[in-house]
Subunit: 350 residues, 2 copies
DNA sequence: ATTAGCACTCATTTAATCCGAGTGCTAATA
DNA sequence: TATTAGCACTCGGATTAAATGAGTGCTAAT
């Protein structure tokens, strides 16, 4: 026994009805709703088969059927193959509004935060956005300068976007010439290097050349380390966590806490995103359904993720977390558009 | 009829028992637990009086009593007067651990975020930390520099802590001399000014002097505006929002969502904190109980806030949000310690 | 002024019952 | 052979009823 045309059609109807209602779907409903004209009895037989095949599940004896993880998986795969996704209505307005927001913000972090917010608002699911993850960021530029008599500012530019500022107290102010010398020293030695190209030896040589100001270099070095780490590490922003409370099947008290915690505790999500990135695939869209998720607290959720790229090789992730019965079509479509936008913006910008 | 010695004692017992258990307290419990040796009947009479006076409430006819907002208020005021708060055990370790964290971080934002986290962990309540709010930040320092051929970096230092970076593309690179000139121009004209001291006329004069590079100034100006705004605006960090789910009286589905939303949507909290700051009082500790809160979603919560100060006059807020039956003693004590630490750190640092 | 005693209230728990959506199976039908 | 009609059966959820028990208010006795 295998999935013939009719079974497929029934399965699809079951899933999409369930996506709408969140209630188990019975044979009669399908007999009425679907366009194949069959009696409920026939549908029942087919449903029994579909259950045996593992695509659907009966939560209890006298209930309709709901999709199993396998069923969702089938549905999603099927959907992914349909290239021609009809453009959704309102989409354009939202698009425009989004562009507006993007224009105004200059700092990537701020923008990504607001992407998470907008997305959560649009979709009514929880969202997650990670900053780009760059393997080995290089030091681009350093500049020291005196802010006032006793404070010195170090500006460190890493990769292409990250800028780190370091404010430090110095006992006696340095003259312009001294500062200039230090700047030249720093840049000529360090520009273009990654973290592990900066050896102890190199640092020693520099300190010798710096003479009196070796202690300043000390501080600058540790600032550099932090800056590069910051650039390498990804930050994760989430939004709309409470949206999940809108779905009764997730709002049950015992799971709710764990779930919300997962969404708020960024640490767990970092792992999640890490795995996503390594699972790359065409379109850059990934769908994890129920128990396919690594985190046990997400076993009743689905996650759809997409990646966006930076010209220089960094890769960031955008994700949506919702109930297993989420509107996959819409979500996938939205994410595709969004990442396309992000790609464009970041690559225009740099 | 007024609060005599005995009534006070009974009221205190009711409240502290309720703080522990979260269940309405009956007359028998008190007869047994309190050290005044009275029968439950007597207690009942006294309780009836206390209820009439408005300090306690019967949730329904055949239940024990719980504190009313007025009751909590009485309890808290009473407590505030006891100056000699015994030092809590473990406190020292926690303290040490905290110091560790503080040492490592250089950026205030990062630190405040982690303060929120640590606090939420320690207390099992939701926490809130705002960055210092400064009325009129002054521009301290500007510096332009070329990062590479086509990109220019503007570093803008505002107030005493905030540093803003602005990365912009320029068609043709500027020479060192040109940059130097611009820097001198910018600093000599703008240093020490607040936002509304930077007039259109001033900007015009500067543009004339800049000649070819007027467009760059344009961009820098808008960067300055943003930087000062950023410094003026306060940012709010929250943590441990899901802790409130631990308290059954708050976990009821209908309120939960609104409550969590409030904690996550920073915008609402901004107002809250604003009011707090204006309500200043001795010790800088504020307690808002139940309906004393401005936000309706917090009507079943209590908020305890404390403020910390920056040398330059900025004031930030630390707050704890929990059920009305929160452990006020502990919370007030913790906040006092914490803000003392913060004061010290910030004032040593700058 | 305090206490013992008793009738009363009412949220909560437990059990009993009903209801209906949905199934599986069998026998009739096309 | 595939489909359908019909019917007995199952079981979760909602509704109702009864039992429980913590706690009160009031009164009369101490």
């Amino acid at each position: 026994m295998s999935l013939d045309e009719r079974k497929m059609k029934i399965l699809k109807t079951i899933i999409s009805t369930y996506l709408e209602t969140g209630e188990p779907v019975g044979s009669r409903t399908i007999a009425k709703d679907s366009d194949l004209h069959l009696s409920s009895a026939t549908i029942r037989n087919e449903m029994a088969d579909l259950e045996e095949l593992g695509y659907i599940i009966q939560p209890h004896t006298s209930a309709g059927r709901i999709p199993s993880d396998l069923g969702y998986r089938y549905y999603v795969n099927q959907m992914m193959e349909e290239h021609d996704m009809e453009i959704r209505e309102k989409e354009e307005e939202i698009e425009a509004e989004r562009q507006m927001m993007f224009q105004k913000m200059d700092r990537m972090e701020e923008m990504l935060k607001s992407v998470a917010d907008v997305l959560a608002n649009d979709t009514n699911y929880a969202t997650l956005v990670s900053t780009p993850h760059i393997r080995e960021s290089k030091l681009k530029f350093i500049q020291l300068s005196m802010v006032d008599h006793c404070r010195m500012l170090a500006v460190i530019v890493v990769g292409n976007e990250t800028v780190k500022n370091l404010l430090m107290n110095v006992e006696d102010p340095l003259s312009n010439e001294e500062i200039l010398k230090l700047n030249i020293l720093l840049n000529s030695f360090l520009q273009g290097l990654t973290l592990n190209e900066i050896s102890l030896e190199l640092m020693h040589t520099m300190k010798v050349q710096a003479g009196l100001h070796a202690t300043i270099l000390e501080t600058v070095f540790s600032g550099i380390v932090e800056a590069i780490h910051e650039a390498n590490d990804m930050e994760i922003y989430t939004s709309g966590a409470t949206n999940i409370l809108k779905y009764p099947e997730l709002a049950n008290p015992s799971q709710t806490t764990a779930l919300l915690d997962t969404l708020v505790e960024k640490k767990q999500l970092v792992k999640l995103v890490d795995e996503t990135v390594s699972d790359q695939e065409k379109h850059g869209i990934q769908v994890y359904i129920g128990s396919e998720n690594q985190l046990p607290s997400l076993k009743d959720c689905s996650i759809v993720t997409a990646t966006y790229d930076l010209e220089e090789g960094g890769t960031g992730t955008v994700g949506i977390i919702g109930p297993k019965r989420m509107d996959y079509r819409k979500v996938v479509h939205t994410l595709k558009n969004l990442t396309a936008d992000l790609d464009e913006i970041f690559n225009k910008k740099s």
